[in-house]
Symmetry: C2
């Protein structure tokens, strides 16, 4: 090495050491960005995220390089670049007028707490790298368990911190939570018996031969979340054995139909491994008849799982928790704290009715996750994990039951208010009523509504197709304009003869969404509709011809 | 509602709104904590985490309540409480003298960036809730792919942003990454053929019947990570079909033995589904002979996965990447950025040699993750996920190849230096040499070493048992004293006749660990050893008797 090279090496080494030892200066670009976030998150998001949409292919051009850059970069340069290329083209999920997603505004205190979590950088897989974070996570799971099952004090005293038991698992999200629950269901069903050492050890093929089944099945509403398909695939059940069961006019699974299917399967020697109830469907927000499903699961002697990833937070409301009645009979329940519990992304949970459920998936390594240790990693699907439970803990403590009561009730009441606005409005049609805080609707000019009411089935179909085009146009234009956002989905409502019907989908969980914003959204949609040159004129013409 | 109740409701509602709308005051408890973290993270951790260990049962008393508190709590009260009950009893994973974990110091800039990530609260499952974060994540995966496979520019131009392909998957951690890789291996092996629609659709039982196998197997070193057992379980392969293969004196898997086992399995009609190479074993840090394993995988026509969760970062060093030679022949590779890449917890990745690998696990929902969309969620195990890729992106840009070259080389060189210190020291024994930056050793008084050299096999066993007790005592006492930390594990070294041997385990990835700290660790261990009243006297007596 030449003297010059050596000096350069030393200089760059020193620069490198600085990023580990010297804090960001208070007047650095990144510090200023951080202050903006800390002092006015909503303002930061509003001002930093560009309103007008840039096509994806243009955004991709900024993320085209495939080689890790050779030269280090100054943090300030990087921060500036990211503001322009990343933040500007991200999604304002917290905006009170963006009522199409399940994410909402966040309480301010989660920001500094997140930094604390990252700075502490604990690893929850084992107590050796998490210490107090392990009992904290067990407490969070215990509280969620109590929210669902409400067992006696003695129950929690006995099990919450018991080394070889768990009341649930903290997960990165609802998908892992659902898979964990169904993994347990599979392993409990195909347990060791006689010479057979159980599916966990011997695998599914031998398990099926031992038990003499021709197949396993999972029954769920046709509105079940797609993560259940992943579970059926990864667990070796097969996607075709995740059986979608028809829903009624209110998007609730028909339990009689489920019973009929279970009999059919039984005749084919296909064992129903689990029934999944949905407590808040992703698209319409409806809750399955959980008590009926619990009855059926008991009849069939199978696992009963409830996917309440989104709707589970409703249990925090004394006023509305009856909507999820029967959930306490489930063997396992998924709840995502990053949906209606106001926690940032990455906080899924599954709770188990029985503290020994997770024994079915328990695993030990020879020298970590030892039997009798309190390492959380021995009963979870994931391994190394961050201390996200801390943010759920914080929200539960700072907001409290009283706070959640107000927040959840406000959301559900607001959805009912918005539904009434839509119903009273001559130019809109409510498609699904809000059972929780999710509803769907569409824009239909009054004269079209009148014409449709009188039209033949054939003609109604024609109307519907044009309305689908118009709904898509409105949703897309509104999103691109960037002032407000509703999502859209496609339903087959019974009262429209199960025709494909494109609808606006609205989730009202953001506490900052005001009544005025809801009025404005409808107002904007009407204005946008008037801009459509393709579907609207045809619709009006068709209406005119029909009533002529 | 009485007037008073109404007024109270309004007051508590207002308090609630404030947490969403009013930032933490600069002089609030939480803000002050945050400033401390931002200005002096190492100091904050040093001062906030109590050095002396508190028994777990005492910590648990602070996390005993199982009911979500009814009353909301002031953020400042909560923050104070958490400092005392949580932070004080967490683990100082970033301390330069804590060289027993795979976590290390973090660069300062990840702290404000984490806050930005949380504040933006994007959801990477679909482009609609992530926008520019999706191309960013694809770029990070592309860069890691290039690091492993080094394909031509045209390859990345074609595939990196291709809607229906993926060069890898970003995961919460290495466990999910390994499971994803083996899920793909299983589904590719048991693919659709003729009437059979593939394991994903029809399940494992029908797949096995269709292909006529009696079982599936995964071959891996006996030093393989326990996450592979989870993978074998959840995928329905069975833990008994994850076959541990003997390692040589250097803790590298014996590929000849693996070949022999694969022949035996073949005779039993058990199909080898995948071979897993370990690039950096958790306990000894050794790398399997990857080229030999690639040859064998090619012979057997099976998937070749490399678990480089910990060691993969070594590829960032031009000087040392040859140690992982053959990794570029793997079908899939796991690398955790939260280990040696200086990213906070929660950043696992798996890269795929073939851009269409993930087709085997692809899934679409009817209205999201549509075919042709760029939604990342259609080819990942997880669903909703945070924008953690941003922190990997930042580290790759800010540290750059040159920076990582220095960091990685320093770690490996430091491990070699520490090994030489141990070897030269008359009272210590190096058990495994550092191939990457992990080594194991133990304390053995010089006279005991001399006596052992001359002792019979039986007597050596007696020595060894006493040494195991002493090693545990030293490690435990050192941890409880809180000045420094090494971990411990149990090996069966060939040169000790494969007797159970308890050892100190050290990972030298923290750039702030100085040579002096390493000297101090040995010094402290010697001092602690002298405090032992149980094993040390017996050892010395035994040595005396032996040489008498």
């Amino acid at each position: 090495m030449t003297e010059l090279n050596k000096r350069q090496a030393t200089a760059s080494e020193e620069a490198l050491w600085r990023i580990f030892t010297v804090p960001e200066a208070p007047d650095s670009t990144l510090s200023i960005i951080e202050q903006n976030i800390s002092q006015n998150l909503a303002g930061f998001l509003r001002e930093s995220i560009v309103a007008v949409e840039k096509p994806l292919w243009q955004i991709e051009r900024d993320f085209q390089a495939h080689q890790i850059p050779s030269e280090p970069k100054f943090v300030s340069d990087y921060a500036e670049q990211m503001m322009e290329k990343l933040v500007a083209h991200s999604v304002h999920t917290a905006a009170p007028s963006f009522i199409g997603h399940m994410t909402s505004a966040l309480p301010y205190f989660v920001l500094p707490l997140s930094k604390m979590m990252v700075g502490l950088n604990q690893n929850l897989v084992k107590i050796e790298t998490s210490k107090a974070f392990t009992p904290l996570e067990r407490q969070v799971i215990g509280m969620m368990h109590h929210l669902v099952y409400g067992e006696a004090d003695s129950f929690y005293k006995k099990w919450m911190h018991s080394a070889n038991h768990s009341l649930g698992a903290f997960c990165s999200g609802g998908t892992i939570a659902n898979i964990t629950a169904l993994w347990i269901a599979r392993n409990r069903l195909l347990k060791a018996e006689g010479e057979f050492k159980g599916v966990a050890k011997e695998g599914l093929y031998r398990a099926m031969k031992h038990y003499g089944y021709e197949g396993l099945a999972i029954l769920v509403s046709e509105r079940g979340h797609y993560s259940l398909g992943k579970a059926a695939d990864i667990l070796g059940i097969g996607r075709e054995f995740l059986i979608p069961v028809k829903t009624d006019a209110n998007n609730k699974v028909q339990s009689a139909e489920m019973r009929r299917i279970s009999r059919e399967l039984n005749e084919k020697n296909i064992k129903v491994m689990a029934i999944v109830g949905v407590a808040g469907t992703t698209e319409t927000g409806n809750v399955d008849p959980l008590n009926d499903l619990a009855d059926l699961a008991a009849e069939l002697g199978c696992h009963f799982h409830v996917d309440a990833a989104w709707g589970g937070a409703t249990l925090l409301s004394e006023k509305y928790r009856h909507l999820l009645s029967g959930i306490e009979r489930a063997d396992s329940v998924t709840i995502d704290a990053h949906k209606q519990m106001y926690v940032p992304m990455g906080a899924g949970m599954v709770v188990f009715k029985h503290p020994s459920s997770a024994h079915a998936i328990e695993h030990h390594a020879e020298y970590i996750l030892r039997k009798g240790s309190k390492d959380l990693g021995s009963q979870t699907l994931e391994g190394s994990r961050p201390g996200m439970a801390m943010l759920v803990h914080a929200c539960l403590q700072v907001i409290g039951r009283q706070g959640y009561e107000i927040l959840i009730n406000r959301s559900l009441d607001k959805a009912r208010y918005f539904a009434s606005l839509i119903q009273e409005h001559s130019e809109f049609e409510l498609i699904t009523e809000p059972e929780l805080c999710l509803l769907t609707y569409r824009y239909v000019p009054a004269e079209v509504q009148r014409a449709m009411a009188l039209a033949s089935a054939e003609k109604r179909q024609k109307f519907n197709e044009l309305l689908n085009g118009l709904t898509k146009f409105i949703q897309k234009t509104q999103r691109e304009e960037g002032r407000s956002f509703v999502s859209r989905t496609r339903l087959k409502p019974e009262r429209y003869q199960r025709q494909d019907t494109v609808v606006f989908r609205v989730v009202l969980a953001n506490p900052l969404t005001t009544d005025q914003i809801l009025l404005d959204v409808l107002e904007e949609q009407q204005q946008v509709a008037a801009l459509d040159k393709e579907f609207l004129p045809k619709l009006l013409q068709l209406a005119k011809d029909s009533t002529a």
